[in-house]
């Protein structure tokens, strides 16, 4: 504490150094063109440091030299100069400035700045694009709305994990999650995988903590994409910053003394797309009907054959006597279609804002109940927020926010599956390829005596998906508090000092509950399983900074900020895993026989971590005649995860913004070029590693083995991870240039950004040949470069009294390259033999996996003696998940009180490894494999091992099953080009005159839908896979291991304010 006191004193010394001379006092009132007072307008005496701002009534008082020139500015208005001829200056009108020119955006540290002054790209998303939507995850809602923000989700279930990447992934193994700043304070938006299974196998089943934000309480979101924008936040901002201003934290003043808004939404939540299943063939193999996993059986007949019922078997005869000797009809049952339900999303929001002379107060409460289309899946949220400001004295303003979020998420297990069941449990694992002749929904799914799973396989080896949905459940509940306290003291006109304290803390419990009686997952799961984990996270942010604004002369204005920020981040968790359930149905650790403190995969459930960082920063912005801006910034950071010599780093930034339309007289009042801005910036940043990678420890393991006599064996050894005390931060540098403009009477708007980012000294979890004694270490090696283009184009097609039609197009494309790696390749996400790789000269993240052997001479693919693909012993590059480009088109059409909005997203290219397509094709269950199956076939354009053309015939089912689906990874790669109607909405607002005599201020109703249609044209026609759902989160991309369908939502909202 003492050291922070020092800092405060230091700042004060620096800042209190002004003297005030004998002068006259002038007063005036600043009004807009409608005569409404403008509060907070700056009034400065030109050539001196004297200045003030207007109060709530637009009135100011200032001591100036007689005859001084006063410069009056207010964000959004044109600047005006007035000469202080007399003490009473009367009303001073300001005219509304050029909108595009004077757009105000929230930048680092929550500072509002005019967009024209910025030398970097900022995307903003307004509340109207976020509220009253059928989705409670702000991440999902941001998709496509800000150029350069790329969002993927793990599945279509309610509460699924979201992955947000700003621009492109530029680190191989570091985090790519952007920094979330809510009301100026650091907010943890990541997802916890406390069972130690980050990402791949179990990762689909946890939610992102970003979910704790309430979309209905968001005033605006600014996305700071480049490093220039975020240097003040230091290394945490290297992946971009998502600056969220909540309504309750925005200190917004309502139009009247008090305003209450109530909204209610109701949306239907359905499966967006399922495969077109065949109605021609049924379960079996080799055209013979049977109870196979696959659908390569006999063709259905008009009068169905009947076969012995699968439940007429010895093991079930006693408990299901009604099935003894029974037959079932061999015909198509719509098992998968009927498995899903129609979910419902209900959202209720109440907002209130009020203000007094020196105070504002805002509050919001939202309850959301999102019932998924998957049985037993739901997300429930309670969000309560409050915020207010009080001007305690003329100099001192205090403000604060208080947010409480209780989030409750539940889903059946949806771990990864490679096409047949799932080692980690998945309701989808055996569902999606259900043979057509299996009546999943019509036959019992649990043993009436034991409650265990029963299904059609004679050995009962497949767990019934209905049983899974009911008995293998993941739960996650969190209680979160985040809020801040701010104090701003205006030492003198133009100079203020602010202190902010932010706290973001939550406790989260996760549980996996599996009743006994299942059949998948081996001994770990089938006798009943219960794993609970309780984690606590705390982020404390202290931020002290001073801002000084002054006019150096009539042409130059200077704005500087200096400050210090410290972030302390703690996380700890404890957990228990129990197996062998005693009584079916009860989940309490005492109802289980065996208890353990490690996860299924052996990782510790008990874990703690502390990371701290500290930074000193400064920024100066010099303005010349409203047309040229120079911004200089620098930060010195210290980070606790590295050894002393490597833990501190200095990084500078510089950016320039130039407005020809303000500088060149001829352009000033042009109707063709209304505004033009050219900007350029260069900045650097760093990426520090996660903790505990520099020092050795003893890899101890208790209870590693229990011998026949019951002796417990504990082990200890040198960890297989080799620590590296010399590890340094990754260094990022980025050059960014851009043009912004509005043309032709502001009908056409343009925002173009080009950037080139280089990240060198990548911190790599380098895999080692185990012959070294270690299988992994951490090193600095390799460089990733990213180049990109982000373009936003807007055009107003029609603009008149009743009609308004605007089109907006957002385009982005990125190209990455890896270089300077010392090894042939590094697989950094996925499995060791199937994952995303970094390879010199290739884009980051190419997919490597097993490949078909190529003939040396012809380069053609080689088949083995059976006509199946011959697999190369080495894994190869088999795909590139990076899309060629992404395009979003938004159309907003309004007529009087009606408004119709549509958003289309298009992704060109990018490969996806699809487990779903693979399983469906291999098992012959969709219309894609409806061809005449009696005709043998062979792989065309292939050669035999001796190099001669392939002519080895095989039955279609052998070829699909043994050589396409589960055989070689290369065959499961598909081009993920995708067109989607992401959103459409129609809203109607009651005209104000209709409401005049009612207590209501505004009433509106909106009908809207999300994910209404999509098509991935390069997938087999009948798979209908949504390539946007993928298994791998984090830095992994381009993998889908049967993650299930995505969600389509539509419904209506009504909002009333009074």
């Amino acid at each position: 504490m003492r050291k922070r006191l020092f800092l405060v004193l230091g700042m004060l010394c620096f800042l209190i150094s002004q003297s005030i001379a004998q002068n006259i006092e002038v007063t005036g009132k600043v009004l807009d063109d409608k005569g409404t007072p403008i509060s907070g307008a700056s009034v400065n005496e030109s050539g001196s440091r004297r200045g003030t701002s207007t109060d709530a009534n637009g009135v100011f008082k200032l001591s100036v030299k007689p005859g001084a020139k006063l410069i009056i500015t207010s964000v959004g208005y044109d600047r005006r100069e007035v000469v202080a001829t007399s003490p009473q200056l009367g009303d001073i009108g300001l005219t509304l400035g050029n909108q595009a020119l004077n757009e105000v955006v929230v930048t680092a540290l929550g500072v509002k700045r005019e967009k024209k002054a910025l030398g970097y790209a900022v995307s903003t998303v307004d509340k109207k694009d976020l509220e009253l939507r059928p989705d409670g995850d702000v991440g999902h809602l941001l998709q496509g709305k800000a150029p350069g923000v790329n969002i993927s989700q793990s599945s279509g279930i309610s509460g699924a994990q979201t992955n947000i990447v700003v621009r492109a992934v530029s680190t191989i193994t570091g985090s790519s999650t952007p920094l979330f700043i809510v009301d100026g304070m650091v907010f943890d938006g990541g997802a916890n995988n406390p069972n130690g299974n980050s990402g791949f196998d179990y990762g689909n089943q946890t939610s992102s903590r970003f979910l704790d934000l309430d979309p209905n309480n968001i005033e605006s979101i600014s996305v700071l994409k480049g490093l220039s924008a975020s240097v003040l936040y230091g290394e945490n901002a290297r992946n971009g910053v998502i600056l969220v201003t909540t309504k309750t934290g925005s200190n917004r003043r309502p139009n009247k003394k008090m305003e209450v808004t109530v909204s209610q939404s109701l949306f239907v939540n359905k499966v967006a797309g399922l495969p077109d299943y065949t109605d021609k063939y049924g379960g079996g193999f080799d055209l013979a009907p049977s109870l196979a996993f696959s659908n390569w059986g006999a063709a259905f007949k008009a009068t169905p054959d009947s076969f012995n019922h699968p439940y007429s078997r010895a093991a079930l005869n006693a408990v299901l006597p009604e099935y003894v000797g029974k037959k079932y009809a061999y015909k198509p049952y719509n098992s998968v279609e009927n498995f899903f339900r129609t979910g419902l999303v209900k959202t209720t929001n109440v907002g209130m804002s009020a203000s007094g002379n020196n105070t504002t107060f805002n509050m919001s409460y939202t309850y959301m109940d999102d019932k998924g289309f998957l049985p037993n899946n739901y997300l429930r949220k309670n969000n309560f927020s409050m915020g207010g400001t009080a001007k305690l004295t003329n100099k001192l303003t205090m403000s604060g926010t208080f947010n409480y979020a209780a989030t409750d998420f539940k889903t059946p297990q949806i771990g990864t599956s490679s096409g047949s069941s799932s080692g980690t449990g998945s309701v989808y694992g055996d569902l999606m390829y259900t043979p057509r002749s299996i009546d999943l929904m019509g036959w019992p799914y649990k043993n009436p005596v034991t409650q265990g799973s029963i299904y059609y396989r004679a050995d009962n080896g497949m767990q019934n998906p209905r049983w899974t949905a009911e008995n293998a459940i993941n739960e996650q509940a969190s209680h979160r508090f985040f809020g801040n306290i701010n104090a701003t003291y205006e030492i003198m006109k133009g100079l203020s000092i602010a202190y902010k304290f932010g706290l973001d803390t939550y406790d989260e419990t996760q549980a996996l509950k599996i009743n006994k009686g299942g059949t998948s997952g081996g001994a770990t799961y089938i006798n009943g399983f219960y794993r609970t984990i309780a984690g606590t996270s705390r982020i404390l942010t202290h931020n002290l900074f001073a801002t000084y604004e002054t006019s150096l002369s009539s042409s130059f204005n200077l704005r500087t900020t200096v400050g210090a920020m410290s972030i302390d981040n703690y996380y700890s968790q404890a957990g228990t895993r129990s197996s062998n359930q005693l009584v079916f149905g009860l989940f309490d650790h005492s109802n289980f026989v065996t208890h353990d403190i490690v996860s299924e995969n052996g990782s510790d459930l008990d874990y703690k971590r502390a990371v701290k960082s500290f930074g000193l920063f400064g920024e100066a912005s010099l303005e010349y005649k409203n047309s040229l801006y120079l911004n200089l910034g620098a930060r010195q950071s210290w980070f606790s995860t590295l050894e002393k010599d490597n833990r501190k780093l200095f990084y500078p930034s510089v950016s320039v913004s130039f407005l020809p339309t303000s500088a060149i007289e001829a352009l000033k009042n042009s109707d063709v070029i209304n505004m033009l801005k050219i900007r350029a910036g260069y900045a650097t940043s760093a990426n520090f590693p996660s903790p505990y990678q520099t020092r050795p420890y003893l890899q101890s393991k208790t209870n590693a083995f229990v011998d026949a006599s019951g002796n417990v064996i504990n082990t200890g050894g040198i960890p297989n991870f080799s620590p590296n005390p010399n590890i340094r931060p990754e260094l990022l540098s980025e050059l960014e240039v851009g043009i912004e403009g509005s043309f032709i009477n502001r009908r056409l708007t343009l925002d173009l950004t080009l950037f080139n980012r280089s990240t060198k000294d990548q911190i790599l979890n380098k895999s080692l040949d185990p012959s070294t004694g270690y299988d992994q270490t951490v090193v600095n090696a390799g460089t990733v470069t990213n180049k990109g283009i982000e373009l936003g184009l807007g055009y107003t097609v029609v603009r008149n009294r009743n009609w308004n039609w605007q089109l907006q197009g957002n385009f982005n494309t990125y190209r990455s390259r890896v270089k300077d790696l010392t090894e042939d390749y590094i697989i950094y996400a996925g499995y060791s033999n199937l994952g995303n790789a970094a390879i010199n000269g290739k884009p980051l993240g190419v997919i490597m996996g097993s490949a078909i052997t190529r003939d040396d001479k012809s380069g053609k693919r080689v088949v083995d003696g059976n006509g199946y693909w011959l697999t190369d012993p080495d894994i190869k590059v088999i795909g590139d998940p990076n899309p060629d480009y992404k395009l979003t088109g938004i159309s907003t059409l309004s007529y009087k009180q009606f408004s119709f909005r549509m958003q289309w997203d298009f992704t060109k290219g990018g490969d996806l490894y699809s487990g779903t397509a693979s399983a469906l094709l291999a098992r012959g269950v969709t219309k894609d494999t409806e061809f005449d199956r009696a005709v043998p076939t062979y792989w065309k354009d292939a050669v035999k091992q001796d190099g001669t053309p392939n002519d080895i015939m095989q039955s279609a089912n052998n070829l699909y099953f043994s050589s396409l689906g589960f055989y070689v990874n290369e065959m499961n790669i598909f081009d993920a080009t995708l067109l989607r109607l992401r959103e459409a909405s129609l809203s109607y607002a009651l005209p104000a005159q209709m409401l005049d005599k009612t207590p209501f201020g505004a009433v509106s109703i909106t009908f809207s839908g999300q994910n209404l249609w999509y098509n991935a044209p390069n997938f087999p026609k009948h798979i209908h896979l949504d390539p946007e759902t993928s298994s791998l989160l984090g830095n992994g991309r381009g993998f889908e291991f049967i993650t299930g369908p995505s969600s389509r939502r539509y419904g209506a909202s009504i909002r009333v304010s009074f």
Binding site: L291, N460, F705, D707, Y774, S832
Partner: protein, 549 residues
Amino acid sequence: MKYFIIGALIAITASSCVKEYDGLLENPNYPSLSSADPDLYLNDVQLGFKDFYSDASDQGALLTRQETLFGITYYNAFTPSSFDNEWSKAYTAVFKSTDAMIGPATEAGLTTHLGITKTLKAYTMITLVDYFGNIPYSEALKGAENTTPALDDAATVYATAIALLDEAITDFATAPKKAPANDLFYAGNRTKWTTAAKTIKLKALMSTRLVDATAKDKIAALITENDLIDTEAEDFTFKFGTRAVSPDSRHPKFASDYTGAGAGNTMGTYLMWSLYAEKSMIDPRIRFYLYRQSLDIVAALPNVVDRQFTVPCLFRNSPYAAGVPHCMVGKAYLGRDHGNGEGSPPDGLLRTVFGVYPAAGAFDADQGKNRADATVANGRGAGIFPIWMSSFTEFLKAEAALTLGTTGNVNTLVESGIRKSFAKVFGFATAVGVPVPEAFAPSQDTQDDYVDIVTNSLTAATTADAKLNIVMKEYYLAAFGNGIETFNNYRRTGKPSNMQPMLDASNAGSFIRSFFYPAAVANLNPNVSQKTTTTVKVFWDNNPDNFIN
């Protein structure tokens, strides 16, 4: 001046703020390395060795038809990544913890700790060479100092391993200042460990007999010294427990066959045929080795469509020459043919599974029931890894007598080997608490009959090669549960000579003479280039190409 003061204040603040960062560098989740203790290292070596053996034995068992090799070609039968785990266990657990322990254990006079870890390390080195040929050794285990260790000559590694066994023998000769807290093999008995170390030496020397002219004298010396594993008490086995979870301490074959709805392993048709049909009598060990879930598969599947799907091979013609087993053995010994690449049929409740020896499953007393049936008693997984059994020594001596002319009567040695195998196997059911009904306990007459059949055929065999074939067949049968010895024996002697060929023999390619290097090695270490074929022979194998199938 004021700027200077401010600067100084900021510097002081910053430095005091970040001073506490030093305390955040130590991982709070683990003890520090200085708290390591030799007992913990020893346990790490023992369990790492168990895991190494498990993978290696499985691979050998699949190739020598104890279990079924899935896959159509030898080339694609094992992907390089399937060796990652065993390689990692060898180097990062067995080798690394052995080396880490040597200093502190030597200082503390823990000779038994030293001897055990050296013995296990030597066995692991020998097996790695047997499987892969040249391996990194002299440049290995150096961590960041050398991330690309070069390969050492396989023969040199073998010699180093043998020298390490000698070191271990010397260590065992000195009484330790403190016995190990846990010895999962011999409960700290140094005499037995000495015998084991010498026997592993014998095994290694026998492997090299084809290429090393000096091996014969060394083998003869060991036989003469006669301190070899030749009693049941000396058997070198890893002993499993019965704990199913937290942690799963059961025999892995039990764990995969006896949990879940269906059996996890598939037995080799050839092995079952060898036990059931090859001789004029059924091998008395068959009910101990194998458990049938049904006594009559055809009767259990009266519906032809069901049968066709569950046991498709019943409807296919044998691609093999007459006399080679195909599909099913007898009415109920259901496994799979060597190299069958079809998808798994739903036969998990019908196929034959591991019995009471060595996995501690069920004894086959004609129950004809699902092995998980509550009325079928099993040994709860407290099985053993038969790493070296007293019977093996006898067969090896017989091979030495036949091929090298060392002392000993082949007939007597083989008889002794069979009887030792019988004793171990028959006694094992009781040892793990599985009752053997009187009617099914092999009588002395049965055992004698079996011995007579083998010794008679030995006597009848006219050539040393024919005799060796009989020796190696009996060795093969006694070695059930150990795929390492059968794989080595097959490559060294080409026996047993009647192994069932690959199902699609014409396209299967040649038998694997050494494995691909693990993916983790070949991909990450530029000094190890991947083999282009799996027909590369290891240094002690000078047999002709294609001499085995």
